[in-house]
Symmetry: C2
Subunit: 336 residues, 2 copies
Amino acid sequence: MEQMIGKQSLKFTNAPYIIETACIAGKKEGEGPLGKLFDKVCEDGMFGKNTWEEAESELQKETIALALSKASYTPSDMRYIFAGDLLGQLIASSFGVKDYNIPFFGVYGACSTMAETMALASMTVAAGYANKVMAVASSHFASAEKQFRFPLAYGNQRPLSSTWTVTGCGAVIIGNETSAVKITGITTGKIVDYGVKDSMNMGACMAPAAADLIYQNFMDFGVDASYYDKIVTGDLGSLGQEILITLMKEKGFDISKVHMDCGIEIFDSKTQNTASGGSGCGCAAVTLCAYLLRKMKKEWKRILFVPTGALLSPTSFNEGKSIPGVAHGIILERNE
Amino acid sequence: MEQMIGKQSLKFTNAPYIIETACIAGKKEGEGPLGKLFDKVCEDGMFGKNTWEEAESELQKETIALALSKASYTPSDMRYIFAGDLLGQLIASSFGVKDYNIPFFGVYGACSTMAETMALASMTVAAGYANKVMAVASSHFASAEKQFRFPLAYGNQRPLSSTWTVTGCGAVIIGNETSAVKITGITTGKIVDYGVKDSMNMGACMAPAAADLIYQNFMDFGVDASYYDKIVTGDLGSLGQEILITLMKEKGFDISKVHMDCGIEIFDSKTQNTASGGSGCGCAAVTLCAYLLRKMKKEWKRILFVPTGALLSPTSFNEGKSIPGVAHGIILERNE
């Protein structure tokens, strides 16, 4: 049966399942609206380590261990691990996964990484290349600020358009055993560059890529917003949400009633001083595991999960280049 | 038919083909032993741009265009592009591929990236998710030195164990149409860390990962060195080659007669001052396209292509961490 749908999508003949998940978040995330839903909240931002990068690796390592333990699996039950993070050369992932001895595909999709790992993981399982695999993405506020913006001790002012990188990691075990939620299709994004150069307004960098992805998903599957109970972007924040809804209206679709953004959900921006919202690959990852999949058990039957990435690099940014965006879409359906 | 073989390998039921390739290299590479075999040698290391990073993006962009033109395809014929490079946040790739509007999977495998992109690309085609896709990897001497080691103007001494990052890009179109060479299987590597901390001896960092991968390939397929006409690593260099052959002997296999390393082939280290050899994801990528696939048309029937990556980051290195290695294996066979 043909699995290619339209220009950029796949509809799996043998849809893989989300067998188990785990998510660990930082202290600030734990104090937010989703705080009680995380599997674990770590009060120590250093995760017992000496550097922010080691802290993020430890966060990945513990989240992977937790997902395995919740599912009663050992590392050798995972045929592959697809993992990524925001740091140069993916050091959070390479040092985070190395002790598990699982065949490793490192991927980089900026803050869209959770969907990129899940897309490749579900393609792998649906093709019969594996029975069980793991998809992982993480970010850490301090390692990200250090790399992309200013030293924390500098205490720079944060404009209202800025977002707050989430300290968090999500790990999803995808396999061919039946469970409550299945991955029925994916839409793979192109790089979209509207020429935005403001690293303090990532929502504006990513919203065009999200709009492009959602529009293409509608075209490929021949549907509109009413097909989904929710369309959930990763970390556009409140400003990016406005831009996305406007861009989609220009394309002829009103998604305002079903749109939700993980970056808006994860913090209470009024009391937590997070400006436009949360961001980072950990934002979509932990919100999926803690909140979205819970809602799918009873309330929502079908959602489009669209983490969005801003392809920002400190080098290209300092060289005056724009910040292109990318988005990846995952269709999740309740198994009934 | 079962495609999973052993612990870490796949044997494709519908083996995809290498339909076309393109490779562009820098001036120094053009002066080396393989110089005449590259599709194009660019005398200007800046590729007409203002920064080394833009130069590497332009190199990718031109190589992709050349591969498409050699095959008489347009960008829209490619259902996906899998691309990666050594730079933080994959900026060479994101700015290199963005104008083509092809659905994009960014991957990071350090210098093993060419095999990681080819593995995912061939999995995608063999599963029926696409008819044609492209796999790309690049590196640039100057952008890599700037990021990983010293400013070029500093003129640091290079120890004999060091390698010289290749300026080059390889692009491979993989599809389900018959051609001269097919990808019959893959072996996916784990991260292997022997605790080596010397960024000027990357061969020593990567050789254990190469040995682990080759050994696992032998186990999974139930073969030994005699099964392959050549086992070709990516960029171990002459020191890394010695370590690999020794490690394989300890595991009970003599690969000395069939082993070849792209890093050794690409430069004449005696006259070109390249110490232990060439390195970078571009090294294996251009050697595959220019040399290995040519040899497969007449001389070799089956090779194991094993690009190796050192998961070096300037941040983790400066924090005193080790440099773990990873390798990915691709089995290429002449179609007869």
